[in-house]
Symmetry: C2
Subunit: 411 residues, 2 copies
């Protein structure tokens, strides 16, 4: 990459891109077909693609024992590099060091890459869960993923051969770090805030994004297009919601939208840090951390994901947090506000629980435009209308809404 005004990637002057292209890819693919196959979960596949496109710069592959342990215990790899969440691959059998294996997607069967095995090791899963998720509760979806891992972790450097269905299925948003960086450079941006999204964008998210636009060169609305827990709104619907919002309510020149292929881990604070780390690789200087970032259920305090940023050592992470308080519409303020800017009471604020919003959307009830834009609500209504009855109950729309002021829904 030529001399750039942008923030440098994590722990490196250049993106570490492990994805092969052209002839190199063809040759490696031929070789891969003859190697022993190891099937990956969707989480592992997403991690491999991020390794491929440079999203996990400067990692060179799946982590070995010492890195895994340091990351769990102290968020620090053997080299001293900051890393908040293990990036590991599991397999039912031990594999000898020096062996080469072919990595396939368990979801599609596609050959995704190759790995030169450096090490096989077993882990204390409870230690990993308690370190990363702050719980080993079997109800936690991230804990479930770790507990479902096979007996051995297999480590080694990788060559990546595919980005799976992401570039095609999410052609409107899927983006590599080199692409987002190029766009930011063309726009002449220097300070860029990232907004993490895994839900449709309501006015509270719009407000976060707009505060960021007011105080930086632009916003990178970056949504997860990997797997969520059952019942969350699927990626294609979210993409539509976000696009219609950006189209109608943002200044085009101040927004870039993108999608990335990871599964949610629901690790709350630790995942907030990972979000900032890989956004730095995408070229962002700031990561918006709102209420209950990357949380699930009641496992984390509402601002734990902000607190953890203050505990990092100097130089751990160049991408800075942009912490924003709980946001909502306040009728007395006559505008969007947060706990930091609105002095009024609960009853003056419009806050909808996921349950109330779901009910209104699937039964044709009124949802105030102060909560969500008309254009977004239309898309969600259409989606709900297409669901079978038993699916409706499952869908959880809005991760951090509360039951307060639900009466406002029919003001």
């Amino acid at each position: 990459m030529a001399k750039s005004n942008l923030i440098r990637p994590h722990g490196s002057d250049n993106l570490k891109i492990l994805l092969l292209e052209g002839n190199a890819r063809q040759d490696e693919l031929k070789r891969a077909e003859k190697l022993p196959k190891v099937e990956m979960t969707t989480r592992e596949t997403g991690d491999l693609i991020m390794l491929g496109i440079g999203g996990f710069t400067p990692l060179e592959g799946f982590m070995g024992h010492d890195d895994w342990k340091g990351v769990c215990a102290d968020m620090k790899m053997k080299s001293g590099l900051f890393w908040p969440i293990p990036v590991t691959l599991s397999h039912s059998e031990k594999i000898n060091p020096g062996s080469e294996i072919c990595l396939t997607s368990g979801e599609t069967g596609e050959i995704m890459g190759t790995m030169k095995v450096s090490e096989s090791y077993q882990i204390d899963k409870e230690f990993e869960c308690k370190s990363v998720f702050k719980t080993a509760d079997a109800q936690h979806p991230g804990v479930q993923m770790v507990m479902a891992q096979k007996e051995w972790n297999v480590a080694g450097s990788v060559k990546v051969l595919s980005e799976s269905y992401f570039p095609k299925e999410f052609s409107m948003v899927y983006q590599r770090p080199a692409e987002s960086r190029k766009i930011f450079e063309q726009k002449g941006w220097k300070t860029i805030a990232a907004l993490q999204l895994r839900n449709p964008m309501h006015r509270s998210h719009e407000y976060l994004a707009k505060i960021a636009v007011e105080v930086s060169d632009g916003i990178y609305i970056h949504q997860l297009v990997g797997k969520l827990k059952p019942g969350d709104i699927p990626g294609d619907v979210r993409v539509k919601c976000i696009n219609v919002l950006v189209e109608n309510y943002f200044v085009k020149d101040r927004v870039v939208t993108g999608g990335y292929p990871l599964d949610m881990r629901y690790a709350g604070p630790r995942e907030g840090l990972l979000h900032a780390l890989f956004r730095q690789n995408f070229g962002c200087t700031h990561m918006i951390i709102g209420r209950d970032h990357a949380g699930v259920g009641d496992y984390y305090g509402p601002f734990d994901a902000q607190q953890i940023f203050f505990q990092l050592w100097d130089g751990a992470l160049e991408c800075k947090m942009l912490p924003i308080d709980w946001t909502f519409w306040c009728f007395k303020c006559g505008g969007m506000a947060s706990m930091k800017t609105c002095p009024h009471g609960k009853d003056d604020r419009l806050m909808l629980s996921g349950t109330a919003l779901r009910k209104a959307l699937s039964e044709g009830g009124n949802v105030p435009e102060e909560f969500s834009r008309r254009e977004v609500l239309e898309i969600l209504r259409e989606y709900y209308a297409g669901l079978k009855e038993d699916e409706k109950v499952e869908v959880k729309l809005h991760g951090h809404a509360t039951g307060d002021a639900e009466k406002k829904i029919k003001k």
Copy 2:
């Protein structure tokens, strides 16, 4: 000052406080009475008080020739210290170096301080005006002040003996840098944005302040209580407007209000820099610079005062700019917005010219609450009702409103 989390004063580890108190003040006052008297303008008096309370740290008095010239030409004093606007005292006669003089207020006659004269010099006033105001136009109120200065500039270190009527007349807001710093420390704030005010606070200013609150520990609403140009809203009315707004629409724990004794110079970009410099002395890490900051008429481009911050050399100024675009209510957004966040058209935005607002307030017309809070409008209506007819024409309420969308006033 004890070890502090706050930003250090400009060019110094401690506030340079030149105001004497107690016996030292009494003794110096007795001495002063016997010295030759030099009468100061209100601008010079305000500057002297700022020197007294540490607002102009690390200056020790009124500037000599070399400092004056360097400040005009390059915003740099002989010592290399960044300073954007001359702080000078003029007199009709040359005064011999080594002489001591008594400084009195031309407005009240009070003895304000003493000065040990180091130098008398004559200046090229056009050079000063073109450097500082970017114009020598006799219509410019800042140019008028310089052109009205007497023949000699008299320089030297000062002892300050009074803060004039400011502590009493503006007892609700007048504040020394040591006081604001103490409050910030007690609140545990580290990042503090300053909002400069010389107008009543309408929703556009409220929006600037609230963006700042969202992204920092708190806001310092800091209003000028010195002299403005004829027709501007007087200080006591402005203080009332701001207090009622803070009372009703801000979270108490996130706001500190204060007042400072300077006259407006209307130097636009250069004054924006001075505003940031002395806010650093008051303990602020950021200075909000909006549209046409410290401007008057059409002398400056709307964002010249933001551009000039980018031209400073490294280390010139520790207090950083928080630049915010032109702000307004947008009916399509359904909220406050700026040119950076609102994609809609002129007709969707509520922007009132000073003329339209004045007319509505003095004739009982409707002013939408999206423009200004009910409580603020009430105070302004009362003020206008008390004015004589010929005064009404003169009062200019809102320095940076435009004529667009005035029709919205009667929507």
